[in-house]
Assembly symmetry: C2
Amino acid sequence: MKSHLIFLIALLFIYQINAQETLIGFTPENTQKQITLETKFDAQLSADNLEEWMKLMSARPHYVGTEFGEENAKWIANQFKSWGYDTRIDTYHVLFPYPKIRSLELTSPTQYTTKLTAVPVEGDPYTGQGDELLPSYNAFSIDGDVEAELVFVNYGIPKDYEELEKLGIDVKGKIVIAKYAGSWRGIKPKLAAEKGAIGCIIYSDPKDDGYVRGDVYPKGAFKNKTGVQRGSVMDMPTYPGDVLTPGYGATKNAKRLEIEDAPTITKIPVLPISYEDAQPLLAALDGAVAPTSWKGGLPITYHIGPGPAKVHLKLEFDWQLKPAHNVIATMKGIEFPDQWIMRGNHHDAWVHGAADPVSGMVALMEEARAVGELAKAGNKPKRTLVYCAWDAEEPGLIGSTEWVEDHKQELQKKVVAYINTDGNGRGFLGAGGSHSLQAMVGEVAQSVTDPQKGVSVHDRRMAVNLIRGGTDKFELYALGSGSDYTPFIQHAGIAALNLGFGGENAGGEYHTIYDTYSHYKRFKDPEFAYGVTLAKTAGRIVLRMANADVLPFEFKQWHSTIAMYLDQVIKSCETMRADVEKHNKLLDKNAFELAADPSKPFVQPQRKARIPHLNFTPLMNTLDVLKMTVEEFSSKDFTKLSKNQLVELNKMLMKSEHILTNETGLPRRSWYKHQIYAPGFYTGYGVKTLPGVREAIEQENWEEAQEQIMLLSGTLKNLDQHIKNMSAL
Amino acid sequence: MKSHLIFLIALLFIYQINAQETLIGFTPENTQKQITLETKFDAQLSADNLEEWMKLMSARPHYVGTEFGEENAKWIANQFKSWGYDTRIDTYHVLFPYPKIRSLELTSPTQYTTKLTAVPVEGDPYTGQGDELLPSYNAFSIDGDVEAELVFVNYGIPKDYEELEKLGIDVKGKIVIAKYAGSWRGIKPKLAAEKGAIGCIIYSDPKDDGYVRGDVYPKGAFKNKTGVQRGSVMDMPTYPGDVLTPGYGATKNAKRLEIEDAPTITKIPVLPISYEDAQPLLAALDGAVAPTSWKGGLPITYHIGPGPAKVHLKLEFDWQLKPAHNVIATMKGIEFPDQWIMRGNHHDAWVHGAADPVSGMVALMEEARAVGELAKAGNKPKRTLVYCAWDAEEPGLIGSTEWVEDHKQELQKKVVAYINTDGNGRGFLGAGGSHSLQAMVGEVAQSVTDPQKGVSVHDRRMAVNLIRGGTDKFELYALGSGSDYTPFIQHAGIAALNLGFGGENAGGEYHTIYDTYSHYKRFKDPEFAYGVTLAKTAGRIVLRMANADVLPFEFKQWHSTIAMYLDQVIKSCETMRADVEKHNKLLDKNAFELAADPSKPFVQPQRKARIPHLNFTPLMNTLDVLKMTVEEFSSKDFTKLSKNQLVELNKMLMKSEHILTNETGLPRRSWYKHQIYAPGFYTGYGVKTLPGVREAIEQENWEEAQEQIMLLSGTLKNLDQHIKNMSAL
């Protein structure tokens, strides 16, 4: 028996060596050290800390400019100090509107005054904090006092306006009412204003996060009839951050735009409301019945209008500069102090923000504490770690953006990668970011155990992908926007990741007074097990990047991803072409008119312009060459380089993401420099990959599309040369 | 100027000759006569008659056994007589249950007593007829008194029970509540009973035909909160018609089954309710939240249960024999009196039945009146016309079924085809039936003008097909069940068609007290223009079949349709095989368990059995041979045959549909003889083409599937020989 056991242990040992001797970027020897370090790291992590800190930090509302927010920042800073970090608070002075007047009434054909207030619920004392709770509003709505007929515009996204056009309905001079969801909220007033609307109401339909989804709070996790989602509506796809200081830090004495000149404040007033408040407004609409896909979950027939419902919307804000306190905690690397691994999460919330952002913040802090413990025990990182707790993320990624803008040159020189987290909960790993880091993240995901199922978080993710009809290939999603990675990757061209668990934590609390510890504890991650798992995952990524012999950038997976994006873009042209041909053929046959119900309004669709054939060959050829280049690069064993050569190689690897940017930026939004990833101009958070080319095609701007193809090809050629230079080492 | 005009007229004349000299089945000479006849026929039709007759016939409820129903039958008979038809009333004595006790209460955890009564509405005096309105119930529910926990089963169709199984929910000993729609209603209690449920409630969800679809009655056409759909739940997929006399006519002295032995009465009590009555029951459910696709439009979270909602359902019926009065009106053909073109529509209704069936009945009557006028003017049909107004269609196609069973042998000898109509409204031509008639129906559709758009009803249908992503090839849909064509085609093997207009007449009045003249006039076909168009369409088909030199059966389109069905069946096997392989692969990877949320109930799915490869080659070979045979047949010019040969050919053509039947019928339901078309055993009205083979595959009964392939191949070989015999003439 005993000899069998020894044999088994030996087998296990051999297996472990074999399985792990190839940790990406590590020599076999350093792999073993690193694995030992990670085991020690895991042992430090305590779910109790996460829970205790969440209670502390989400005890009261802490949006930017609040005293409690500042207290939180100071408390976070003190924590970091106690764990051995050099910690400072970098404060910026940023414009933040606080609502003074919020009034919305149905004035015709019946009268209804909206309540605009969510009710406290039993069992959740946080919801009973009265006036301290930030009133529900959309930050960076312009002031306004408008009265007009109402039009229901579904989600208020481009294809909804196409549908309205088909029905012959114009929103010019009207106030639109749009459902939350379907796009980032800021797109709704932006597009409504472009179409001539004079006001915009956004409401949460029960189909999207209310009773249709599940039981409502406090019985269940979903939105009760009084809940209202707050949120920023600044034009972030143009630029995020302080609206008065585009492209540079909002320091105390920075030069500022006049408020009326700030291009990212909305053009029309916007107000979010609950579904209890929305129902009388929607019920008072008449006109065409909404298309099936537009219909929500209220017990009414959804009509589009315009009118006879008429509403009066009045909004006035107190526009003040508020201090945004970013906590910056540094642990200097012992070998490469000028190579920084950055890690961040925001600390400000719309109200209590237990899930968003505190659940991510406490995981980051526990990770940092454990790293501090390791350092105290002599395991200091080779590279410098910078932990950040951002302020003013909610109103528009303001804290992080101002800081990145303010430190851009230094960051571009020193930062290896920025790893972001935000809200977190029970479920599956979601990881997005630079695809040169995909292989490393996949490797990390295989080494972290899912707390519910006992397999790796990688394997659980793959299982759910398979069940949903996908593949079992680990992939990073592409980053659009919606959290603090944006200034790093899309403005500064720094490799970035965004990590979080979720999928078993659905609810309707997002940006409402119901995002509390009480709600989180019941519905999101009761044991804080996924908080610990997030700390393990992000912590491993930080530690591997900090200690790797060769920085773990990998270009074969990067290449196949970019090739897939190009394929998508080419196919989208073909689809557009086929659609146009089909559409025009239907017009030739007069099919639209013949199929139309004469008792309903009908607008004969326009003939569509031919979709020209774009010349994609420069991109195809560049990608073909790149393929050979990355294959050669991947075949090298860099661990055998001399120390100096390794230093040189790592410096070059750090720059590889920046090569994918272009200093002139994207057309009409020069703040966005990255040529591979950007938030969509008309989707907001939703990513557009190869954005210059893709969006020109979507807007049918063929000349620009061809220019962008050439530009992107040039960018990719630069990377090709850069990788060749690295291979030559 | 004048010479130009003459030239134009000459051109027009030549064009007309050319365009129409090939009317299917007619010599060029007789084509011209027929077209002239059809022009005269059209000129006779008056929309005013349709409206006047609808008001008359739908003035009061007229379900089988009512005095008003009998009055209607007599009045219809007198009308036919006045138009020159030999008219009689054939009466059968059929079991019809009238509700004595209807009681449904929520007994726990809260109390609610359902109202079970729709309210009268302003502007519609018919809805105020009080006790004369037939109470809402499902005919051929068994009597019962049950109390149990409730389970929500979505539409209560097979895939819903698969979903319940995944969730570990059993309905054994429970009462199920299912939404109307998704299948024929009778499937719901049938399947519930098979799964062990002891009662079944069916309700109309507002998402399916209530406020979600559009404004409710009386503001709009859809179902208000009190409306209840009546309807039969007898097991029609086993056999329709009188439950006590399967396969033979329910004549006065016919031998009858005991009620307790009647296999088509439900096994458990069933009651339909309104959404007002359903809401408290559904709201009292707890347990798993229903899957997204199950959720309806009520302002609640849909839970599945079981319980804690408990309901008490008590039903008792008065089971009496009632007289069903079929009106049979004959106009003898002057050349071929023993070749009958049959035409029918039912006259009984659940309540007033303005749309269902009176809108179709009045179109049939106006058509018959016009044909009568033509006959009086000397244009008597060559073949015999038989116009039928069926009674007792609503409780289970009873009037027509008993009549067909009673006259089966004569009908099989004499009937060329049966053309059915039922409810009708504004919109697009829908035509289903024997595919040997497809070419002829398509030709007719091209010669009838749409009253709203001025193009042919064929072209309008094609336009809507194209807009919906289909092709512009005219196709008959395959007949399942749901109206009186069933006994003709599926039992007697007589070629049949079903015709109607619709698509711009949606509403929620079906089988409720709101299907009145007032509702019809506002929402269905205000000008009765589509009633006249239906008369034109069906009338042309009747007249062409009555007068054709060669009966207009065509087998090339028939063949390509059957070949497509075979292709579907073969592909369905491949899809099943791929699904099973994928499912088992997911099990191998333990993906179901890993992806499952441990806070929710989870049942590990079973490994699925391999899908064997069936040998379809006998069918493929037979269809290949048939292809050559029908091509040869189609290449012949039969108009050049001698008169005697023509008589012989037409006799053989009349038999061609019957050759597609098999006297032993389908497995487990021998009443259904047709081998190409049948209502699905678990879909009800929904058709299953090549039913013996297709349903054996769906039930994974591989031995039976292979047997049915051989059987069907034999049937098709018989047709092949039959067509060869015709070609040899």
